[in-house]
């Protein structure tokens, strides 16, 4: 059994719908996999206290934490419009985790803080990433979630799925270009280039079975 926690800020005034679609897409995949036990926190529940309470029973063994929310521009934290819920103050709660987030900038500071606090592996953006308009939500979500979904569904290493994610971005960028959606392709390419993997990329999903 793999323990998975997903936090998503469906309450955000600008991108709540996008974050919720990200969650729904991941949930649809996860719900078809018998080996995964997942629970989720919606935006209004994303407080440091709630997150800590949800993580603490899991972190004596390996687990996966996924977050679809904003990050602050300094890269130090994950936050909702109301409060910071992951930062240096609770970073140690994520020891033994694979931490996957599509929030802006958090690879700049929070990512390395997590790795220094015995988080196994981190995937996230090292700069401001772009969202898109509704027509292209599915493309963006499929790209941003690719590594996570492949990791959960297969026996590939995190590094393999990360490399395949880059190739998948390339495919989608070419498709958008072929459809004359140049600007959408441009922003997707920027997102591709801002995604980084920190920590141990050699782990597979079997390393997270508890």
């Amino acid at each position: 059994m793999i323990n998975l926690v997903i936090a998503y800020d469906d309450n955000d005034s600008d991108l709540g719908e996008y974050f919720e679609d990200c969650f729904n897409s991941t949930r649809d995949v996860v719900s078809q996999l018998n080996s995964i036990s997942y629970n989720s926190l919606r935006g209004l529940d994303c407080t440091e206290q709630n997150i800590n309470a949800r993580i603490q029973p899991l972190n004596h063994q390996s687990f996966i934490f996924v977050c679809f929310s904003h990050g602050d521009s300094s890269g130090e934290c994950l936050l909702t419009q109301n409060e910071v819920f992951v930062s240096i103050s609770n970073v140690t709660f994520f020891c033994n985790s694979f931490f996957y987030t599509t929030a802006c900038c958090v690879a700049l500071e929070l990512g390395s803080n997590l790795i220094n606090s015995n988080c196994f592996c981190f995937i996230g953006y090292n700069d401001s990433s772009w969202a898109t308009y509704e027509d292209f939500y599915p493309t963006y979500i499929a790209c941003e979630s690719y590594s996570l979904v492949e990791f959960l569904r297969t026996t590939k290493t995190i590094q393999q799925t990360f490399d395949e994610m880059q190739a998948y971005f390339d495919e989608q960028i070419t498709l958008l270009y072929d459809q004359n959606e140049i600007l959408v392709a441009m922003e997707l390419e920027r997102n591709r280039d801002c995604l980084v993997l920190l920590g141990n990329g050699s782990l597979t999903s079997s390393d997270f079975h508890v």
Binding site: D14, S128, W130, Y133, I173, I182, V184, R190
Partner: protein, 208 residues
């Protein structure tokens, strides 16, 4: 595909009348409705700064006889504070050695400027045509050409969102690039990267 024409903005002292061979020659060789002539430098500067979303070549006289008007040096500096995408041709009958060194340095260090010190009409026309070509091959012109292929309704529709909630339409993007806003520079860099990336990948697939 026809490129969007560049406006030619002549800002010259009213001692050079509109019937000067330069302006007659300009109107004979370039679309007349794309040529705008100001004999007051302040008004010319205002027009340029109010229309930075257009491609422009500015033919700028250095000396203005009225003390209430900005000199050509000042007009140049004021334009460059806002954008480097307007092409400026400084025109003067003065000897180069009479131009203050600081101004020469400023012109050299700021892109897209030519200096013509004769007011020779064929030479100036040639410089303007060269400037138009340079503008046409700049990234913003290529983007404009692509944007203008879309219907107005699509051009004004927000299609890029930042994760902090700002939205940009095609027209917003073009304007931001033209006005050298930080987000415009970011778009420009990303579009160039995309073009190179697509080009290199297509070449690789052709080679395969």
């Amino acid at each position: 595909m026809t490129l969007v024409p560049a406006k030619i903005i002549a800002i010259s002292d009213d001692l050079i009348p509109e019937i000067d061979p330069i302006f007659i020659g300009l109107k004979a060789e370039l679309p007349e409705n794309e040529i705008v002539h100001f004999t007051n430098s302040n008004e010319g500067l205002r027009y340029v700064l109010d229309n930075l979303n257009q491609k422009m070549v500015v033919l700028l006289d250095i000396n203005f006889s009225s003390r209430t008007e900005k000199s050509g040096y000042e007009v140049f500096d004021d334009i460059r504070k806002k954008t480097s995408l307007v092409y400026i041709i400084m025109a003067t009958v003065r000897n180069l050695s009479e131009i203050p060194l600081a101004n020469l340095v400023s012109w050299i260090n700021n892109d897209a400027v030519s200096l013509e010190n004769t007011f020779n009409y064929p030479k100036i026309i040639s410089l303007i045509k060269d400037a138009i070509h340079k503008l046409d091959v700049q990234v913003d012109s290529v983007i404009e050409e692509w944007i203008m292929r879309h219907p107005p309704s699509k051009r004004t529709t927000a299609l890029i969102k930042t994760k902090d909630g700002k939205s940009y339409s095609m027209d917003d993007i073009l304007s931001a690039i033209r006005q050298r806003e930080p987000i415009g520079l970011e778009f420009e860099k990303n579009l160039l990267k995309l073009a190179i990336d697509i080009f290199s990948r297509q070449k690789l697939s052709t080679d395969d």
